[in-house]
Symmetry: C2
Subunit: 241 residues, 2 copies
Amino acid sequence: MLNDVSCAQCGLSDLCIPHSLTDEEIIELDETIMRKKPMGRGAALYRQGDRFSSLYAVRSGAVKVYSTDQEGNEQVLAFYLPGEILGMDAIDSKMHASTAKVLETSAICEIPYGSVENLSRLIPNLQVHLYRLLSREIRMDQILQLLLAKNTAEERMSAFLMNLSVRYSQRRLSGTSFNLPMTRIDVANFLGLAVETVSRVLSRMQNRGIIKVKGRDLTIVDKQALCEMAHLRGSDKASTH
Amino acid sequence: MLNDVSCAQCGLSDLCIPHSLTDEEIIELDETIMRKKPMGRGAALYRQGDRFSSLYAVRSGAVKVYSTDQEGNEQVLAFYLPGEILGMDAIDSKMHASTAKVLETSAICEIPYGSVENLSRLIPNLQVHLYRLLSREIRMDQILQLLLAKNTAEERMSAFLMNLSVRYSQRRLSGTSFNLPMTRIDVANFLGLAVETVSRVLSRMQNRGIIKVKGRDLTIVDKQALCEMAHLRGSDKASTH
DNA sequence: CGATTTGTTGATCTTACTCAATAATCGTGG
DNA sequence: CCACGATTATTGAGTAAGATCAACAAATCG
């Protein structure tokens, strides 16, 4: 395996499933990756309706993905954090059904999909790697679904925060103290809640000593309590049996 | 391309992306597919915690996928209809994070994943096919997410019915008149609503002449109205700008 | 520095959940 | 085939949670 430094400068080598490719394969892969300048807040990686050509790896910063319906209503579908890959939903249709915008100054790697597909024909390991990468995205979406199906605002909010925490931890960033890269509006939209509700729930959690929030800065004080809050939907489903 | 008859008897040949494999490739593929007897209501394709080994194609009938948390609460993640493939979420972790149960007598094809992976190394077309298949599942999950993020019960319910309608149509089944293979309990659980709310919303829709429901039998009378009901969340998001 | 976006808090009202009762359907065994 | 219990489905009444409306504070940006 390559050392951390060389791993850190490429997009694919840390693509979610480490230790499944050899050094040679990683180097070959890295050559196909187009590095990009840092992108500023509001810049678009791709827009709804664009022809699909590349996957994108978030090196630093954060990206929000949303789709817009006929009436112009936006619906946030996902947030992508450092180390995560986006764009895989468009491989089939070859068309982006959503828009990806940078939330804060971010370093983004563009990975031309054609090259990856070709390379994967030559490197069996990469092929397996990609199947797993796609599968992992399916699993991620399922977890977000579990989150959205929760009934109360508190459950959704706590599940959302736990989800962010876990994802930051997985990338060796702090899982207990981090910066929310998105606005309350985005959070509310994503969770299917009103902005005011998001604000209120966060305040309530802070008053109970579970978290500490100051604008976008968030610290998880009582992880245990937050965890319990997230799935313990009380006794409704359990008691009906 | 093979004719409809031979296509209809195998699991993979009609796997979502037709016309991307040659006849030879389809035949080679079919040989790896284990056919299964019809399975009865309540039978499990796999259970949460099982080691992953195969994908499953629904030939007829329907399957529900759900996960159970520590407290024993079930959360329905998806319903799979004829022509759809399930199990792809476990390729990465090699472990099923959910349980798949047959909702009504169904014909299911088991597709050993190892064989598919091996074959895809030999058949480049199949490789591309699989990438697209996985991508399509990601897209499907996104659409379900859009559905769950809707705020009102009516929006979720109508979006859900429209989703079923579209999926049945894609498989050349009637999109305007079909049988709901799942209980109201499952629908409610999936949509994050109370059972009573599901019942009430369906009754209300019927009274307005949008649909006709009699137990599990459902007919969409006014598709246009149902469509509008599904995303037109009124003026909240639009007017705030 | 002023303007705009974003965030918080309060009051009111609507929606959907809960509890409860009843009806219909399904499945099973006599 | 029908009777039985169990599950599933519908409808009503009361309540609680969250949306909406509104006012204001804080942060961001040009």
